[in-house]
Structure formats: structure tokens, C-alpha cells
Subunit: 876 residues, 2 copies
């Protein structure tokens, strides 16, 4: 076993993995001479060892701690467990990643029926000593023995009530002692054992309890929500206690070195005299703004200002600092990089460059790309919503905040909106029939479906807020929604936040933050440093304009089937697919041709010379077909076809596993005339727009769902021949590319052969994830949930690219592809494309572009900048 325990003087701020971020920063502050209560740290490695080997590790830790604790004893001039003048300990857990409020702290460890008197003597304050003992029993019993805090509160309240008192502070020393006795009796009753009097036992059990707390439900939930790996474990920091509650000359406080809300360069924080850390947040006393401290502790304040200034410079980032004053002596309890709003993050990053504190490269990395979206989306007023308990949570499928009256059908939604009201559409899941209702709604909330469900995709396309797969029960017929046993009826008002997936009761204020000049500055810096291009997944000219405004450099995925949505041409697609003969099919395709060409022309006019990737008709067959009897009848009538014939044809097309059925290139191979029509329309559109604007367009045609080189070759021949015909007919030419979508595992495995024929690869990570895992996007949401709860998965692979499995396929395909064709263009256009991890992954592999949803483009630009900076740093 490696070294289990480090002293502060053996650590530094670089050692966060081993010592946790709290421990590492304390060691760092100790190193640079700042006043911290000295201590030691049990490493995260030790914690992980404990998960493997169990209690044996705890015993070893106990021995190692007892050895090191002498350092503390020397500095404090007290001994641990000494009844006359005991050294008391603060035992705090802390992982590499901070999980605010999730991991417990045990203060005043080392108190028992004897040492409590020693403490009283030392500080000349019996009440304070028993107050500490009381707090210690309560916290320790919760962490180590799992006794709920409320049980202690009940005991305390009963006691206070019996004495006609309101607050614990109103008790005198005898009262405090009574509370301690009552607490001890509670422990005995709950556990059958006396509260431990051995300080060694206390120490040992506390360490074990903190290790175990890593797997508390609360902590696991937090990690799941924040995609934090669960195998890192926590460190445990053990420091000597200092007290902010000793008297008027003591106190405690917390500050940010700048404003976490606006980013203004101005100390931001609060303090309380005669108080411990927990009093700051308890709400019993109102803290004073930090500036007041200059009046109360003028000398200490001056010193403190110097220290926080030094900390900010030392860490070259805004710090979140906690401190305690014990009898006129200042101690820094913790420093960490401060959480901040997007606005603040951006302003601070730009300011710090101006101040010469950080480089532009560093500034780029200081803004969380996931926050950039906040600057572009409607959000609830943060200060208000932060204190609101959500009703439930679903998948954050399309960002943005929305409120409205709930409706359960497209019809009701339209009716209510016609009356001038705002509505949220609630459905079990949506289908194309709900489209009209979705258009008029503020947002959509569904019971079923994943991040790529119909509702999610359409909502994202429309820039509407959507939460799918929420933990609600919807009865569309009765117009009822049940959340955690509570019924909601049509007209009830709710708020949904598509960015977080949270659903709230009632109406909440919505704000549209402004884009400041600073964000533009950061974006420019990021754009300069990155090589990878950011394109958008866009299907219409209108969306294309929006994408360009956000800085998209092209379209990486134009889903042609969606181009027919707008003009209600979808039934014609169904007609193509159920046509009896090629002639019949061609006749319908002729009908579609005009619409297809017009859409391309509109798109090229907006995109001009920028690249546009046109994907041939792709989605599963059955998506074009209605399912219910009524819908089938309607379709038949609309198409002027025999109802029975349509029904039979649709039945014959039934697929057991449509995701693995007739899709993508398979449609192009079976009905090459469809690919011909689409290519023809694109080619004619290119020529028209080239002539009209006097520009050069290089369209990229993308063949989806390739699994073998031969099917790409086949389809490419159809495309090449069609374009050749247009060249001959018009006497005009243009350059173009034909690429393969790599979204089936086999395509990645034979990438070398495909690359021989393809001009570019576009990785479709949604399907690639689906097939590599064998997880249906539509069905396995609950399995992934289950897996995450059972800690089988650390993350949802449909949200974060699975680098060890799917990523391995991509890496190998990139290598094979580039080996076969060195100038092969590489792009990625799945749902993952907007995520920082994926952009970093693609940057490292030398991708030419990623293509993400319109609203993610700014974040992607920033992520790409950050990835480039990190690459530069790694190469140094």
C-alpha cells in the first residue's frame, strides 16, 4: 500500500487527485505561508483501497493518522484525547471535484464526557463546550450511525418546549448539558450502544463514515446529475479545530474575490461575529456584508484583503474563500475557484487578461461552454428559481424556460392559444399529428421518449423548450397528469426548464440575458486559436440564418426528409415508398422534385459559398407511415388511394426493429430513383444559385447508414451519374463531394475500403452509440437509468460520447480512413457534436469539423477553442 496519509507540508495545489481539492488547497495555502489550521489528509487512493479491502484499510489509516497527529499536537500545544486540554479535530471529506453540500464534515471530534470539561477550562466557557459536544454528537451520529438529524431536532425541541424556550442559544450551561444527555440517550435507544467515549474510536469511525458517505444516495444522485465518475473516491482532511464562536473577538465569513453574478471586481461576501461556519447559512442570524468587517476587525480586515488578493493572484482565478477569526487570529479555512454565472465568467476572463493576470488562451478555458447556452436561452430568474423545489425531472431535450397552462392535445392547445393564453403541451409522447399543437405551445413535456424522440427533435428544431421522458404519468383521455401522486388538470400552470429538465409548479419569471461585448471578445479569441470548424445541423433557410448569426461556418447535416415537413409534403414521401412500380414512384418523385429544389435554392442563397452537407433520405421506413386505422384512412384519402390497399401495403412494411431496418442507404439502393431525384434537385439548385449570385458552391452529398463499401460505391455511382447528366444538360459544372455517414459499427471496421471511394466521412454518433451498445434510443432510457443507479454506468452514452467503446471505433476508423486517403475530410454530426468532450476528442483526432444544433454553435466554438488551447499546452 502507498502512503495513506499526507501532512499539509507534504502537499500542494497540483495534488487534487490524491488529496481532494479542499485538502490540496489547504496544503498549498500552508505552503505559501497563509494561516490555516494545520492538518493532515487521508488520500483518495486510500479511500478507493477501502472500497476494495474494507475495514483492514481503516485500521491502517488509524495507525497512520495517529502517527501524524503529533505534528498537529505540537503546533496546537495540545494532545488528542487529553482530558485536561484536548486537541479537537475537524474531519472533512473532499474529493477532487467539489460537490457542494453533498459530503459531510464532522467538527469537534475528540469530545467526550471528560474532554468536554477540559475544553470548557481551556476557553473558560462551559456552555460553549457543551454546545460543541452537542453539535458533535449530532453530526457524528448521523454520519457514522445513520441517525437522522430530525430525530435530534425532535429531542431538542421537546426539551426547549418543556422549558418554554425558543432557541438553543437561550439555554444556560445546565440546559446544554441536559441536551447532551438527551442526545446520548437517543443514541443508546437507536443503536443499543453508548455514544463512543474513546477518541480513537471516534476518529476511526469518522474516517470510515466519511469514506462511506461517498456512496450516500445524495452524493450518488449529485454525481449522476453532474456526470461525475463514481470511482474517484474522497479524501479526508483532518485539521485542528479553530473557533469563530469564542466571543466578540471571533467570527467567520465567506467571500468571493469578485462578483459571481456580474463579474465586477469587488469583494463579494458576508461575515458574522461570534459564529461558526454553519451559522452563516442557518438563517437564524443575518450575516453582515463583508465591507462591515473593516469596522469590526479593522486590522484583521486589512490583512484579509491582502490575503484574498494574494490568493486570486496565486491561483490566477476568482476565489471562493472561507475564513474564521478565533480570538483575533485569522485563519483561512478553504479556498477554491468560485462558481459563477455565465455573465460573470465571461467578464472575469476578459478583465483578467486586461489586468495581465492570465493569457488569452487561459481566458478561453475559463468559461464553461455549457454555460454559453445560458446567454442565448430564455432562463428563469436564477435567484428565484434556485430556491424553488422542482416537482420532478425529465430529460433536458430542448433548452429554454417556459411557463403556461397545461393542455393534453394539439387541439386543446390551439384552442387555448386562440384565446390568448400561453400553454405547455403535455403528451405521453408526441407524433407528427401533434405538430400544430407544438407550434403554438411555449414548451412540450412528455412522459416517454429520449433526447432524440420526436418531441425532442422537433422542439430543438423549433427552438422550443422541451422535457421528454419525465417522471410523470399522463392520461391524455382524461386530461390528467400525475406527478409524485399529485394530480394536475388542464389549465393548471407549470413552468419547465428545458435546459435542466426540471419541472416547477406555477409561473416563474423568465429573463433573456443580454449578450455583452465580453462574450464576443472571448469568442473571437476562441475562433483564432481553433482549427476545427463548427457547422450546424440545419434543414431550412430560416434556421440557416440563425446558425450563421451564431457563427456557424457551414451546414454539417441537412436532413432532407425534414425539408418536406414545412410544406406538408410528408404524405407524398409515404406514397413514394408504397408505390407499386418504378414508374408510379417516379411520378410521385416528379411531384416532389420542385419542392426539393426550391428548398435547396433557399438554403444555398443563405449559405452562399459555405459548405452544405446534404444527407439523402434517411429515417426508418415506418416513420413515414401512419400507424392507427384513422391515420391510415386519412392518408389514403389524401393520396386518393384505396384504403385497403394502403393499409395492406403499410402492414407489409411493418418492421420489428425499424432502427435496424429499411433506412438510409438501404432506401437509396432499393429505390435509386429517390436518390436521383434528390441529387438532381440539389445539382440544379447549385447551378441556379451559382449563376444568380456569381459564386462557387461545393455541395457535399452524404450517404447515410453505410455498412459496407459496396453500397457506398453503388450509391455514389447513382449520384455521380445524376450530376453528370445535369452537367451535360446545362453545360455547367461545379465541384462536389460525396461522403459516407459512419454510424453503423461495420462501417468503422471497414473504413479503409469506404475511404477509397468517399471524399469525406461524417460520423453519426447517435446511431453508432445505439448499435455499438445495442441500446435502442427509444427504449432503453429506463435501463440506462437503472444502470446509473446501480453504478454500472457513470454516464448516459447518448449524452456523453463513450470514449472507450464507441470512441475506440471512431479512432480506428479515422486511422484506417486517413491511411487509405490522406486528404479525407472528417466530420461528426451526432447529438454529441456540441459537447466539449466530443469536440476535444475530434480536435485531437484532427477532424475538419463538428456539426451541432444551431443553439449549441457558440458553445461549440468556445469548446473548440479550449480544446485547441489544451492541445497546445500538452505539446509544450
Amino acid at each position: 500500500m502507498d502512503k495513506l496519509v499526507y501532512s499539509f507540508n507534504e502537499g500542494s495545489k497540483e495534488m487534487t487527485s490524491l488529496l481532494g481539492s479542499k485538502g490540496a488547497n489547504l496544503a498549498e495555502m500552508n505552503k505559501i505561508g497563509l494561516p490555516v489550521p494545520y492538518g493532515i489528509i487521508v488520500t483518495t487512493e486510500t479511500c478507493r483501497q477501502y472500497y476494495e479491502d474494507g475495514d483492514a484499510v481503516v485500521s491502517a489509516v488509524e495507525d497512520a493518522v495517529m502517527e501524524k497527529i503529533e505534528d498537529l499536537e505540537k503546533i496546537a500545544g495540545r494532545e488528542f484525547g487529553d482530558p485536561s486540554d484536548p486537541l479537537l479535530l475537524s474531519v472533512r471529506s473532499g474529493a477532487k471535484v467539489t460537490m457542494p453540500g453533498m459530503m459531510p464534515t464532522i467538527l469537534d471530534l475528540g469530545l467526550n464526557d471528560e474532554t468536554v470539561n477540559g475544553l470548557a477550562r481551556t476557553f473558560g466557557d462551559s456552555k460553549m463546550a457543551y454546545d460543541c459536544y452537542r453539535r458533535f454528537i449530532r453530526t457524528y451520529s448521523r454520519v457514522v450511525m445513520g441517525i437522522d438529524r430530525s430525530e435530534f431536532d425532535a429531542v431538542l425541541n421537546a426539551l426547549l418546549q418543556s422549558r418554554g424556550l425558543s432557541y438553543v442559544v437561550d439555554l444556560d450551561t445546565a440546559g446544554m448539558k441536559d441536551v447532551v444527555h438527551a442526545y446520548k440517550r437517543l443514541v443508546l435507544a437507536k443503536t443499543g450502544k453508548e455514544f463512543p467515549q474513546s477518541t480513537r474510536t471516534q476518529l476511526r469511525s469518522a474516517v470510515k463514515g466519511l469514506f462511506d458517505s461517498w456512496y450516500s444516495e445524495k452524493a450518488m444522485l449529485y454525481r449522476r446529475l453532474h456526470s461525475i465518475p463514481s470511482d474517484m473516491g474522497t479524501a479526508v482532511t483532518i485539521q485542528r479545530m479553530v473557533y469563530g464562536n469564542l466571543g466578540a473577538n471571533s467570527g467567520t465569513g465567506a467571500v468571493f474575490t469578485r462578483s459571481p453574478i456580474t463579474g465586477d471586481k469587488k469583494l463579494f461576501g458576508e461575515f458574522l461575529t461570534q459564529a461558526q461556519g454553519e451559522d452563516l447559512v442557518s438563517g437564524l442570524r443575518t450575516p453582515e456584508p463583508i465591507e462591515k468587517m473593516a469596522e469590526v476587525f479593522p486590522g484583521i480586515y486589512k490583512n484579509f484583503i491582502k490575503i484574498v488578493d494574494l490568493l486570486e493572484k496565486h491561483y490566477t482565478d476568482m476565489q471562493d474563500v472561507e475564513f474564521t477569526v478565533e480570538n483575533g487570529r485569522l485563519y483561512i479555512m478553504q479556498t477554491k475557484s468560485a462558481k459563477r454565472t455565465a455573465v460573470s465568467a465571461v467578464k472575469i476572463a476578459v478583465d483578467m487578461v486586461d489586468e495581465g493576470l492570465i493569457s488569452k488562451d487561459t481566458a478561453i478555458t475559463r468559461v464553461d461552454p455549457m454555460q454559453i447556452g445560458q446567454l442565448l436561452e430564455k432562463t428563469f430568474v436564477k435567484m428565484e428559481i434556485a430556491n424553488t423545489l422542482p416537482l420532478t425531472k425529465g430529460l433536458p431535450s430542448s433548452p429554454g424556460a417556459a411557463c403556461g397552462e397545461i393542455c393534453f392535445s394539439s387541439f386543446d392547445a390551439q384552442a387555448r392559444v386562440a384565446e390568448g393564453r400561453k400553454v405547455i403541451l403535455i403528451r405521453q409522447e408526441t407524433s407528427p399529428e401533434d405538430l400544430a399543437g407544438m407550434v403554438v405551445s411555449e414548451g412540450i413535456l412528455t412522459e416517454r421518449g429520449g433526447m432524440t424522440s420526436h418531441a425532442a427533435m422537433i422542439a430543438r428544431g423549433m427552438g422550443k423548450s422541451c422535457i421528454s421522458g419525465a417522471n410523470i404519468r399522463v392520461n391524455e383521455k382524461e386530461k390528467l397528469m400525475m406527478i409524485a401522486g399529485e394530480l394536475f388538470r388542464e389549465g393548471d400552470i407549470i413552468s419547465i426548464d428545458g435546459t435542466t429538465g426540471l419541472v416547477y409548479r406555477g409561473r416563474h419569471r423568465i429573463e433573456q440575458p443580454k449578450l455583452t461585448g465580453d462574450i464576443e471578445t472571448i469568442m473571437e479569441w476562441a475562433d483564432k486559436v481553433r482549427d476545427i470548424k463548427i457547422r450546424a445541423n440545419v434543414d431550412t433557410a430560416k434556421d440557416a440564418e440563425q446558425a450563421l448569426q451564431f457563427g456557424a461556418e457551414g451546414i454539417g447535416l441537412c436532413r432532407t426528409e425534414r425539408m418536406f415537413l414545412e410544406d406538408d409534403k410528408m404524405p407524398l414521401i409515404a406514397k413514394v415508398l408504397i408505390a407499386d412500380s418504378q414508374n408510379e414512384r417516379r411520378a410521385v418523385l416528379d411531384e416532389l422534385y420542385g419542392c426539393q429544389k426550391e428548398k435547396f435554392i433557399e438554403l444555398f442563397r443563405v449559405m452562399k459559398e459555405r459548405p452544405v452537407t446534404i444527407r439523402l433520405l434517411d429515417p426508418p421506413f415506418h416513420e413515414f407511415f401512419p400507424q392507427t386505422e384513422e391515420e391510415i384512412t386519412a392518408l389514403a384519402d389524401e393520396l386518393g388511394m384505396n384504403r385497403d390497399a394502403v393499409r395492406t401495403k403499410i402492414r407489409m412494411r411493418h418492421e420489428f426493429n425499424p432502427m435496424l431496418g429499411e433506412r438510409g442507404v438501404r432506401i437509396a439502393v432499393e429505390y435509386p430513383e429517390i436518390a436521383e431525384m434528390q441529387t438532381h434537385a440539389a445539382a440544379e439548385a447549385v447551378i441556379e444559385v451559382q449563376d444568380e449570385l456569381g459564386i462557387q458552391i461545393v455541395p457535399e452529398i452524404l450517404v447515410p447508414l453505410i455498412s459496407m463499401s459496396e453500397e457506398f460505391k453503388y450509391t455514389r455511382r447513382v449520384i455521380d451519374n445524376t450530376i453528370e447528366t445535369v452537367f451535360e444538360k446545362t453545360g455547367k459544372k461545379f465541384r462536389y463531394k460525396v461522403g459516407a455517414m459512419i454510424e453503423v459499427p461495420r462501417a468503422a471496421l471497414v473504413a479503409d475500403r469506404i475511404a477509397e471511394k468517399a471524399d469525406f466521412f461524417s460520423f453519426g454518433t447517435n446511431d453508432l452509440t445505439q448499435m455499438t451498445f445495442g441500446f435502442s434510443r427509444d427504449d432503453t432510457n429506463h435501463i440506462i437509468q437503472e444502470y446509473r443507479e446501480k453504478m454500472i454506468m457513470d454516464f448516459d452514452p447518448f449524452k456523453i460520447l463513450d470514449s472507450s467503446g464507441v470512441g475506440r471505433l471512431i479512432r480506428s476508423a479515422v486511422k484506417m480512413g486517413r491511411d487509405a486517403k490522406s486528404n479525407l475530410d472528417l466530420g461528426l454530426c451526432g447529438n454529441h457534436a456540441g459537447s466539449p468532450e466530443t469536440i476535444a476528442f475530434c480536435t485531437k483526432l484532427g477532424f475538419d469539423y463538428v456539426s451541432c444544433s444551431t443553439y449549441t454553435v457558440p458553445a461549440a466554438r468556445l469548446s473548440a477553442g479550449q480544446a485547441a488551447v489544451r492541445m497546445k499546452n500538452e505539446m509544450k
Copy 2:
């Protein structure tokens, strides 16, 4: 470009890839001094070049041929195109693989209006010369210009009729000339051009025509049926003509050096005097048995016997030899390894070892493993069925021949069988409700479904003949089946061959070939040389007995869900899966426990100490649930549950893509109590049977559908804990293994991590193929058909393992797995396991075993022997 054309004296029998097997063997015979009409060969490479570059290649070939043709001219003492005494050519196509009757031959090339007179002069026979010209025009026009043979026949018949004649041989010279003129007029009428008089043009066009014939519909169909790659192309052999029809001193014949039916060592063949090769098969004249030749051509016969004996020894295999006698001179026209029945193949292989002609290793390779099945299955009488035109074809889903009256429902089938009749059950596709009907039927024929459809799997399990996904239209309601426009009604008799997938009209005789002693000998030789074990996929004790009889060395896949089929416990499985709570679930599992344990006990009693791999519950969720309203009601009643509740629960379980849904390990993770029950039952069964028989059993538990190491780890913990509990309870122990099924692409990609925790891997190639290609087994049959027709795929990857894609995944997983754990056991248990290619693949990778269906075990043993021999040879 490489050398386009080889002379016979530049070739040898090893050069079949380049020269085609016909050409290579002719060159070989020339080399060893046998009399062949000398010639030259245009290589297959040239042919492939032609497909790439087109007519330019033909011109180059023409030049190269004209250069080489001088050799022929010298030997023949005649010149090509010389009007007075022309050299005529036989131009024959021939690929590396023989495709009997599929590729055309053009004889007498070089005839035109002038040379025909030269030919007449040379042989002093004008009628014969014009007969040759006639035949040449007809064949050439068909191959080069695509004019149908029937058009020439119509012309000829009109002419014969007008003269009151029946046969072309009845014509005199003038009549023959008239036929030639009539043929030439036909060509002019059909093509607008005169029949080419330039012999150079004839030669050039013939070569091009033969190249093109590789892609004739007929040839493509043949290749598709025999899984022959379509990219090999054909060679073209050009020889000087010899004539078997010159007079009484001429003739032609064909022999097998042994009996292709029984394998007896006795010349087997026929001959005709005064005839060309095509007369042998035309049916106009009845050939004489070859022995008669001793009387007609005594000297030549003696010489011929020597030659065929030499050929057999030279090739150390039974030969199929064609010969021609021209004016008392013997020419060998072709020799090739002879096709033979399974019985013959086995006898010849064993005999040749006895004769010291070949080694045992070679003998093993001389029997086609796919034929071994023939020795175990009912078959139609070969000589009868060979001449019967099938009605249609489907997927050969379960082998064996069967005849009977057709029925369209389980009910009708049972009724008819009760009347003492034999029936074939016809369904669109089968479902569990058809089980009773399947049990009583001789065989099953379905319109839909693949090789792994319900019908196919059940039929294979019952050893019943089955053809699925046939090109038929079934109307179950009207009790009608349509095949190629023809209607079949209930009671009509058909025959189906589940081995070939062919459907025949009427009743055909069925025979059950005997296993001779020779096959046992071959099997023993094969068993000795192979290392890889052959196991069977078996679910019941009865099947296990059968598997052992066929030489299975263990069970490689026991599908536990099928164990409940026999005792009608399937509804209980459904009940487990829709239980509301763990308690409710456990109660049902307790009910199932006894049955599960009993089944395991029966299985272990049969298998004794042989390995048995028990796969935990696997199939998609929905397979356990009824779909229609009536079935749901029935299930609810049977389970004594509320109908609405059952319906709702089943609806909630609906999956869009069940193949990618809740299956395999996902069930074990969500409901670990199911895995516990199964493990518990297996463990108790092991202990009981060990005690009862005084043996050691090492059960292997297989966790299906693994995609990440963590889910294997989780399930393994459940299994280990359960077995540990049984150990503690019983005080007894046994060794056991826990393995992961590698059938999801991701599992192969993270095989190293899984191997750390697993004792063995079992590759499930059905799902691996399905997910690697993104092809649903249930849905994409027609797409694969389409792809094969469009030559995008050379084979069906669900039948032949896709070595470049799926195989690459397996190879990499094997390497990663063994690197992580050197003693990792490796098995493969998909549908591919019985195929020679897959067994060779697994042998090379050092697999421990493959596991195939019971009836495939003997073939697999032989395939494994062959793979071992080939490995030995490669290492020499």
C-alpha cells in the same frame, strides 16, 4: 498490364486462379504429355481488367491472341482465316470455380462464307462443314448478340416442316446451306447487320461476349445460390477444334474414374461414335456405356484406360474426364475433380487411403462437410429430384425432406393428421400458437421470417424440415397460397426440402441414407487431428442424448428460456416480468424454481462430466408477452390476473426496437432475482447429480448481451453470491465458470476489461452480425436479397460469417481478451458455428470450442478436422 494470354505450355494445374480450372488442367495435361488440342488462355486478370477499363482491354487481348495463335497454327498445320484450309477455334470460358452449364462455349469459330468451303474440302464433307457453320452462327449470335436460341430453332423448324423432315440430320448438304442462309437472314433482321465475315472480328467479339457472360443473369443467380464471389471473373480458353463427328472412326464421351454415386472403383461413363460433345446430352441419341468402347475402338480404349488411370493418380482424386476421338486419334478435352454424392465421397476418400494414394489428412479434406448432413437427414431420391423443376425457393431453415397436404392453420393440420394424413403447415409466419400444428406436421413453410425466425428455430429444435421467408404469398384466411401466379389450396400436395430451401409440386420419394462404416472412419481421423472441441446448442435432455450420439463433446449453449417451453411454463415467465414488486416476482420465481432445477438435473444426468454452458434468461422482453387482445385475455385468465392490468402492463413494456431493448444481462441487472433463481437451481442440480453419479461437474454460466465490463461484474457478483450460499447451505462445493457472451459490438471493443472478470467468452455471432451491420434479422431479409441481386453483397452475413467486418471485431476481441487473461476459454455459439468457414476461422484463432445445432455436429467435427489439416499444411 500483366501478361494477358498464356500458352498451354506456360501453365500448370496450380494456376487455377489465373487460368481458370479448365484452362489450368488443360495446360497440366499438355505438360505431362497427354493428348489435348493445343491452345492458349486469356487470364481471369485480363477479364477483371476488362470490367474496369472496357473495350480497350479487348483490343489488347486480340493483339496478344493473334500473336500466340501462330503456335496453334504451327501444330495444326493450318492458318486461322485461311479460306482454303482454315484453322477453326473452340473458345471456352472457365473460372477458377466450375459453374457447370452456366458459362458458354463457342465452337468452330473462324467459319465464314469462304472458310466453310475450305473446311468442306479438308474433311471432304460439305454437309458436315455447313452443319458446323450453322451451329457456330447460332451459338455465336446468342453469346455475342444476345439472340435467343429459340429464335433459331423456330427458323430451323419452319424449314424442316416445309420439307417434311423431322431432324436436322435428315437434311442434305443443300438443306444445310439453306439453314445457314436462313440463320444469317435472322441475324440481319434482328441486328440490322450481316453476320460478321471477318474471323478477327469473330474472335474479338467472342472473347468480349464470354467476358460479359460472367455477368449474365443465369451466372449471377448460380453464384448467388452457391455463394461464389462475383469479382473473380472468367478465363477464356482458345483451342484448335477437333471433331468427334467426322465419321465412324470418330466419337466423343465422358467418364468418371469411379462411381460418383456409390464410390465403387469402376469406370463410370458413356460414349457415342460420330458425335460432338453436345450430342451426348441432347437426348436425340442414346449414348453407350463406356465399356462398349472396348469393342468399337479397342486400341484407343486401352490407351484411354491408361490415361484416366494416370489422371486419377496425378491428381490423386476421382476425375471427371471428357474426350473426343477424331479419325482414330484420342484427345482429352477436359479433366476435373468429379462431383460426387456424400456416400461416394466418403468411400473414395477411405479407399484412396487404403490404396496408398492419399494420406488420412488429405482424405479428411475430400468430404464436403455440408454433405455430411445429407447422411443424417431425410432426402429426396437424388436421381429423381435432380430433374424436377422447383416451384420456388426460400431460406433453408431446418434441413430434411418432407411431403404432405398443405394446411393453413394449426387447427386444420391437427384435424387432417387425426385422419391419418401427412401435412405441411403453411403460414405467413409462425407464432407460439402454431406450436401444436408444427408438432404434427411433416414440415413448415412460411412466407416471412429469416433463418432465425420462430418457425426456423422451433423446427430445428424439433428436427423438422422448414423453409422460411419463401417467395410465396399466403392468405391464411382464405386458405390460399400463391406461387408465381399459381394458386394452391388446402389439401394440395407439395414437397419441401429444408436442406436446399426448394419447394416442389406433388409428392416425391424420400430416402434415409445409411451411415456406412466409412463415414465413421473419416470422423475418427478428423477427431484425431483437430484440437477445437465441438459442442451442441441443446436445451433439453432428449436433445442432449441425440447430440452425444452425433459426437458432441459438451453443450455450448443451453437457452434456459426454452427449458420452460416443454412444460408450458412460459406464462409464468411473463408473470415474473410484469410483477409489481420484488416480492411478487420472487413468489412466481419460487414456482418456477422446481421446474428449472428438474430440467438441469435431467441435463446433467445425460451430459455427466462434459461441459454444459447455461445461458441466463435472454430473449427480448416482448417475446414473453402475447400481442393480440385475445391472447392477452387468455394470459390474464391463466394467471388469474385482472385483464386490464395485464394489458396495461404489456403496453407499458412495448418496445420500438426489441432487439435493442430489454434483453439478456439487462434483465439480470433489473431483476437480479431471476438470475439468482436460475443460478440457484443450477447449483443445486449440480450437487444432486454429482452425489447421485459420483462425478465432478463444472457448470459454465453464461451472461448474455454484455456491452460493458461493469454489467458483467455486477451479474457475476449475483451469481457468485448465490452459489456461495448454496455451498454454505449444503456444505458441498464444485468448480464453476462464469462467462460473458460477446454479441454486442461494444463488448468486443472492451474485451480486455471484460476478460479481467470473466472465465470465458462465448461469441454470439447472430446478434454480433445484426448489430455490427445494423441489420435486423427479422426485417432485412429482402434488403439482403436486393443487395445480392445488385451485387453489393456476395453472401448473406447471417449464413456466412462476415470476416472483414464482424470477423475483425472477433479477432480483436480475442487478442484483447487473451492478452488480459491468457487462460481465457473461447467459444462461438451463433448460427455460423456449424459452417466450415467459421470453424476454420475459430481454429486459426485458437478457440476452445464451437457450439452448433445438434444435427450439424458431425459436419462440424469434419470441418474442424479439415481446418486442422489445412493449418498443418500452411505451417509446413
